[in-house]
C-alpha cells in the first residue's frame, strides 16, 4: 500500500452512528411487522401457558377418578366434563397438550436440524462425504420405521418421552435431507458461494451463512408440516400401544379414545381435537411469518412503507 491509500480503516469515532444491522435484527423487525406471524406466536405462547399453568387452576389431576361423575357434561365442578371412567377432561386435555406440544415441536426441530446439516454437508462437500451420507440416508429410508420403533420403544420406556422424540426424529428427516442436498448442489454453483470460497471463508461457515439461509423457506415449510406429522405419528404409535401409555396421556390418545363418543359425548372429543387444530394452525402461521421475515424479497409491506430511492445514490455515484 502506498502512503496515499485511503482504504478505510476501523475508526470508532467516524463509524458510530450508522452501524449496520445484521440480518437477524432485520428479520426480527420484519417478523414483528407481520400480523399473521405475531398471531401464531402469541397463540403458541398461550397454548404453552395453558398447558403448563392451567393444571394448577383445577383440583383434579389427570389420573384422579371421580366415581360420582361418569360421562358428565361440563359443569362448575368439572369444567370440560368427565370421561367414561370419571376422569376430569380439562386436566387430561391439558396434560395431553403438554406432551403433544413438546413432542411435536421437538421432533420437528430435531428432524429439520438433522436434515439440514446432513443434506447441506452432503451436497456441499460432494465426493465421498456425499456418497457415504447418501448411502446412510437411503439405508434409513428402507428401514421399516414403524417396526423398529415398535421393537425399540418398550425397552426405552423408562427413559421417558424424550427418547420417543428422538426415535420419531431419527426416522423423519431423510426425505428432507435429500431435498436439501439437491438444493445445496445447485446453490453451490451460484456465484455468491464461489465468491465466499475465493474469499477464504471456512466451508462450514459458508454452509451456515449462505447455504442454509437460502434453503430456509423450504426448511420452515417442511418443519411446520412435520409438527403436525409428529403429533399424528405419536398418536398412531400410541394407539398400537408403543408411544405414550396410560395412565399418561397425549392429545393423540385422547382423540383416539374420544372419537367413538364424538357425537354422543362431544366434550370427550372436541376439546382435545380443537386444541390440536389450534396448535397446528398456530405453528403454520408462525412458519409462514418466519419464512417471509427471513426472505427479504418476499412481501410488499416493506417496500410500500419505504419506497426505494435509486436516483439519489447514483447522482453521487456518477462523479
Amino acid at each position: 500500500m502506498t502512503t496515499t491509500a485511503t482504504v478505510p480503516t476501523a475508526d470508532p469515532a467516524a463509524s458510530a452512528p450508522p452501524a449496520a444491522r445484521g440480518r437477524g435484527r432485520v428479520a426480527l423487525r420484519r417478523f414483528a411487522a407481520n400480523r399473521n406471524a405475531l398471531t401464531g406466536a402469541v397463540v403458541l405462547l398461550l397454548l404453552f401457558l395453558l398447558a403448563f399453568a392451567g393444571p394448577y387452576l383445577t383440583p383434579w389431576s389427570h389420573t384422579d377418578i371421580d366415581y360420582s361423575a361418569l360421562r358428565e357434561a361440563p359443569s362448575a365442578d368439572h369444567w370440560w366434563g368427565t370421561n367414561r371412567i370419571g376422569q376430569d377432561v380439562y386436566a387430561q386435555v391439558l396434560h395431553g397438550l403438554q406432551k403433544s406440544l413438546l413432542i411435536g415441536l421437538l421432533t420437528a426441530l430435531t428432524a429439520t436440524v438433522l436434515a439440514s446439516v446432513v443434506g447441506a454437508c452432503a451436497g456441499y462437500f460432494g465426493g465421498w462425504t456425499d456418497r457415504i451420507m447418501t448411502f446412510f440416508i437411503d439405508l434409513l429410508l428402507v428401514f421399516p420405521a414403524f417396526l423398529i420403533i415398535a421393537i425399540v420403544s418398550p425397552r426405552l420406556r423408562e427413559r421417558g418421552w424424550i427418547v420417543f422424540v428422538g426415535l420419531l426424529a431419527v426416522f423423519g428427516w431423510m426425505i428432507t435431507a435429500r431435498v436439501v442436498r439437491s438444493m445445496t448442489r445447485s446453490l453451490k454453483e451460484r456465484e455468491f458461494v464461489r465468491a465466499a470460497q475465493l474469499m477464504g471463508v471456512h466451508p462450514l461457515r459458508i454452509i451456515a451463512r449462505h447455504i442454509l439461509p437460502n434453503v430456509s423457506s423450504f426448511l420452515i415449510v417442511d418443519a411446520t408440516i412435520a409438527v403436525g406429522g409428529a403429533v399424528m405419528s405419536e398418536t398412531g404409535l400410541s394407539y398400537f400401544g408403543f408411544g405414550v401409555q396410560p395412565p399418561d396421556v397425549s392429545l393423540g390418545t385422547l382423540i383416539a379414545d374420544g372419537s367413538d363418543a364424538a357425537l354422543t359425548y362431544p366434550w370427550m372429543f372436541f376439546f382435545a381435537a380443537g386444541l390440536l387444530v389450534v396448535f397446528v394452525l398456530a405453528v403454520n402461521f408462525l412458519g409462514d411469518g418466519l419464512r417471509d421475515a427471513l426472505d427479504p424479497t418476499s412481501g410488499h409491506h416493506r417496500t410500500r412503507r419505504r419506497p426505494r430511492r435509486k436516483g439519489t445514490t447514483h447522482d453521487r455515484a456518477a462523479r
Binding site: T4, A10, S15, F192, L198, P296, A317
Partner: protein, 686 residues
C-alpha cells in the same frame, strides 16, 4: 399521446412498415405496466432503421408487437401497417400468412429459434412450403441455395445436420436463411448478434447485408450496441422509457445528437479507436414506467431539466431538416455532462514498469478437463484443453486486459489462478510467491490480497444477506472482529459511491450498477493488491457501465491497485487497460501495451478481432476494411501440435507449402516484436 407521425414525409401506405402511435401495456399484479407509450416509426422500402435503447426501453417489445408475437397479457393499441396491411388486430390465420412472406424475424437466441429435432434443411424447406406452392424436392433445393447464400460451406451436406451440430454463428445464419426464404419486404432483427462473439458478429452482420441486398428488404435492426447500429443503419431511432426520443439519419445522429439522453449515451460508450477519453456517465437509472409523473421521463437524469420539462415533450423537428427529430424542449450545448475527474496516479505507480514489483506472474499455465464416456464403466476417452499455455505479467498499479472470445479459456484460467494451488502445468506466482508451495494457512492469508468481482452482480451477492454483512464477509473471513468489520462498512460503501445508510438493505433493492458497486466494495474491504474483474460491466447498460468504469479507474489511482480485467468487449479494454493480453483457444497469442496492440496488432487473430469490433462512428464504420475470419474456432478437445489458429488464419491461407508445414507442426512461441509487444506467430511482421 398526440404526437404527430414521426416522418410525415412518407405516407404510411407506401412504407414497408409503418408503426403509428403504438401502445403496449403488460398486465402486472398492480395494474397494467406500460412498456411502449406511443411509438411512431416508418421503415421505407430497402432502408435499414436502427432502433437503439437500453434494457427496458421497449425496443424489443416494438419489434414483437409488429409481428403479433406478444404474450396474451399484453394489451396493444395503435396501428402497425406492413405494405398497407394492418397487422394489429388481424386474426391468427391472416398473421400466419404475413409472417415470413412479408415480414420476417431474426431472434437474438438462434438456438431457441430452431427446432432441435428437425434437420436444418427441412426447417428452411418448411418455411418455403408454407408460403409457396412448390414440391418437397424444389423446397429442399431452395433451402440448399439459401444456406449457400448465407455463407454456410458445403450447404448440401450441412442441410442434413441438426441444429445442435451447428455453432452459434452457423445457427444464426440458418435463421437468417429462413427469414429471407420468401423474399420478405421487411426483416425484423431483434439483437441478432448479441449472443455472439465479435468475430462471428462481424460475419453475421455481413450476412445480414447480403440478405438485404439479395431480397431488397427493409431491415429494422433492434440493438443496444451503438457500434453495430452505426455500421448498419441508414436511420436511427433512439428509445427511452417506451418512447422514441430522437430519430435522425445515422450521420446526423452520431455527429450532432439533440436529445440529452442520446448525447449522454454517446458520451458514455467507450470506443476501441480512441482510448483515454474520460467517459461521461448519465446519472441515475431508467425510470420505473409504472411511476411516471407525466413530465419528460428523462428529466430526473437530465442536467438541463427545469420547470419547462414538466410536460412530456413531443417528437419534433427543428429548422429545415425535418428528418432530425428530438423530444426535448431544450437545445443542449457542448459539455452537457460534467467530465469526471480521474485523480493522478499515486507516486508508487509512476515508477517505470520494469522497476515495479510483479503482483501476478503466470507462465505456461495449463488446465485440461477429462472427457468421460459410459455410465456403468466410466472411462476417459479424451481431454478438453481449456487452457493450454497462458502467460500473464501484472505489475503494481497496472491494469491488464485479458481478451478472448467465448471458449477461449478466460474463466478457466481465472479459476486456476484464484485456486491458489499448484497448477496442472506451468507456474503461478502471486505477490512474488509461487502458488505451488503454499501451505493452507499461507493460501488463506494470500486470499486477502487477491479479490474478485464477478460478472453478474445479482448472482454474486447472496440475496438473503443485508449489504453490510456482504461487504463485511471477506473481513470476517480474514479474521477481523465483528465490531472492527462493522466499523469499516460505512466508509467502504461511500468509497464506491453508495450511502452508508444502505448497509441494512438487501441486494434486490438496488439497481444493476449499484449492485456491482457493492461487489466492488466487498472486494476492496480487505485492502487487496490485485483485483480480478471477471467481465464486471458486461451485464450493465452503457450509461451505467460508464459510471462503474470511472469508479474502477478512480479506485486504481487512489489505492494503487492492480487489475486483471477480463472482458470480451475490446472497447472497454481499450478504455481501462494499460496492457492487454489476447487469448485464442487457451493460448496467449499476443500481449503488450494497450496503445501499441490496438494501433499495430501483429498477430493475425488480433488483427481480425480488432477489425471486427464495431465503432460507434458511422463514417469510420463505412470506411473500415474488415478482416472477416472464416468459420468458427475448432474444438478444444483436439490438441494441435502447431498453431491453433491456422484453420481460420488469413496469413496461413496466403503461405506456401513449406511455410504452412511450420504452422502445422511447430507450436509458435511468443516472439518479441519491437518494444514490449509479444506475439505467438511464426510469420507476424516485426
Amino acid at each position: 399521446m398526440t404526437a404527430p407521425p414521426a416522418d410525415a414525409v412518407t405516407p404510411a401506405r407506401t412504407a414497408a412498415l409503418a408503426v403509428r402511435d403504438l401502445h403496449v401495456d403488460f398486465d402486472g399484479p398492480e395494474g397494467p405496466v406500460p412498456a411502449v407509450r406511443g411509438v411512431d416509426l416508418t421503415l421505407n422500402p430497402g432502408e435499414v432503421l436502427g432502433l437503439v435503447g437500453e434494457s427496458g426501453s421497449g425496443k424489443s417489445t416494438v419489434a414483437l408487437a409488429a409481428m403479433g408475437l406478444l404474450p396474451r397479457t399484453a394489451r396493444v393499441r395503435g396501428s402497425v401497417l406492413a405494405g398497407g396491411t394492418e397487422l394489429l388486430g388481424a386474426g391468427e390465420k391472416a398473421l400466419s400468412r404475413l409472417r415470413g412472406s412479408r415480414v420476417a424475424m431474426v431472434f437474438q437466441d438462434p438456438l431457441s429459434a430452431l427446432t432441435p429435432v428437425h434437420r436444418i434443411g427441412d426447417q428452411i424447406a418448411e418455411a418455403v412450403r408454407v408460403h409457396q406452392d412448390v414440391t418437397r424436392e424444389q423446397a429442399r433445393r431452395r433451402a440448399v441455395e439459401l444456406l449457400d447464400l448465407v455463407g454456410i460451406p458445403d450447404p448440401a451436406r450441412r442441410a442434413r445436420a441438426y441444429p445442435h451440430e451447428f455453432s452459434g454463428g452457423m445457427r444464426q445464419r440458418a435463421v437468417i436463411a429462413m427469414a429471407v426464404a420468401n423474399d420478405p419486404d421487411v426483416i425484423l432483427a431483434d439483437e441478432p448478434t448479441t449472443a455472439l462473439d465479435v468475430t462471428v458478429q462481424a460475419q453475421i452482420l455481413d450476412v445480414l447485408r447480403t440478405a438485404r441486398r439479395e431480397t431488397g428488404a427493409a431491415l429494422l435492426l433492434v440493438s443496444h450496441d451503438l457500434g453495430v447500429i452505426a455500421g448498419m443503419a441508414d436511420r436511427v431511432a433512439v428509445m427511452y422509457a417506451g418512447r422514441v426520443v430522437e430519430s435522425a439519419p445515422v450521420d446526423a445522429l452520431f455527429a450532432a445528437p439533440r436529445m440529452p439522453y442520446t448525447i449522454g449515451l454517446l458520451g458514455a460508450v467507450p470506443r476501441p479507436d480512441t482510448g483515454g477519453r474520460p467517459l461521461t456517465p448519465v446519472p441515475g437509472s431508467p425510470p420505473d414506467l409504472r411511476k411516471l409523473s407525466g413530465g419528460c421521463p428523462f428529466a430526473p437524469r437530465c442536467p438541463l431539466a427545469d420547470d419547462a420539462c414538466g410536460d412530456e415533450p413531443a417528437l419534433t423537428g427543428t429548422g429545415d431538416d425535418h428528418d432530425h427529430l428530438a423530444a426535448c424542449v431544450k437545445t443542449p450545448g457542448p459539455g452537457l455532462y460534467p467530465v469526471p475527474e480521474i485523480p493522478p496516479a499515486t507516486a508508487g505507480a509512476e515508477a517505470p514498469r520494469s522497476e515495479r514489483p510483479a503482483v501476478l506472474r503466470v507462465q505456461g499455465l495449463a488446465k485440461t478437463f477429462p472427457v468421460f464416456k459410459g455410465t456403468a464403466f466410466r472411462r476417459r476417452v479424451g481431454s478438453v484443453y481449456a487452457v493450454d499455455g497462458i502467460d500473464l505479467d501484472i505489475r503494481r498499479g497496472e491494469t491488464l486486459g485479458l481478451v478472448g472470445e467465448s471458449g477461449s479459456g478466460k474463466s478457466t484460467a481465472l479459476m486456476e489462478i484464484l485456486r491458489l494451488a499448484a497448477p496442472e502445468a506451468g507456474e503461478v506466482e502471486i505477490l512474488g510467491r509461487s502458488a505451488a508451495g503454499l501451505t493452507k494457512r499461507q493460501a488463506h492469508a494470500l486470499r486477502g490480497s487477491v479479490q474478485i468481482v464477478f460478472q453478474d452482480p445479482m448472482a454474486s451477492l447472496d440475496p438473503r444477506m443485508p449489504v453490510g454483512e456482504i461487504v463485511a464477509e471477506p473481513l470476517r473471513a480474514q479474521g477481523h472482529g465483528r465490531a472492527d468489520a462493522a466499523g469499516r462498512i460505512p466508509r467502504l460503501l461511500e468509497l464506491v459511491g453508495l450511502e452508508a445508510a444502505h448497509a441494512d438493505r438487501f441486494p434486490h433493492e438496488f439497481s444493476g450498477g449499484q449492485r456491482q458497486r457493492i461487489g466492488i466494495a466487498r472486494a476492496l474491504a480487505v485492502e487487496p493488491e490485485l483485483l480480478v474483474l471477471d467481465e464486471p460491466v458486461s451485464a450493465l447498460d452503457v450509461s451505467v457501465q460508464a459510471g462503474v468504469l470511472n469508479l474502477l479507474q478512480r479506485l486504481k489511482r487512489e489505492l494503487g491497485l492492480a487489475y486483471l480485467f477480463v472482458s470480451h468487449d475490446l472497447a472497454v479494454v481499450r478504455h481501462i487497460a494499460d496492457r492487454v493480453s489476447v487469448m485464442y483457444l487457451g493460448r496467449t497469442v499476443e500481449s503488450g501495451p494497450v496503445e501499441e496492440v490496438f494501433a499495430r496488432p501483429r498477430h493475425p487473430y488480433t488483427q481480425a478481432l480488432l477489425s471486427a469490433v464495431p465503432v460507434p462512428d458511422p463514417s469510420r464504420e463505412r470506411a473500415r476494411e474488415r478482416i472477416l475470419l472464416a468459420g468458427d474456432p475448432p474444438s478444444p478437445a483436439v490438441r494441435d501440435e502447431g498453431c491453433r489458429f491456422r484453420g481460420r488464419c488469413p496469413l496461413y491461407a496466403a503461405l506456401g507449402d513449406a511455410e504452412r508445414s511450420r504452422c502445422e507442426g511447430v507450436r509458435p512461441a511468443p516472439r518479441s516484436l519491437g518494444g514490449d509487444q509479444v506475439a505467438a506467430c511464426h510469420f507476424a511482421a516485426g
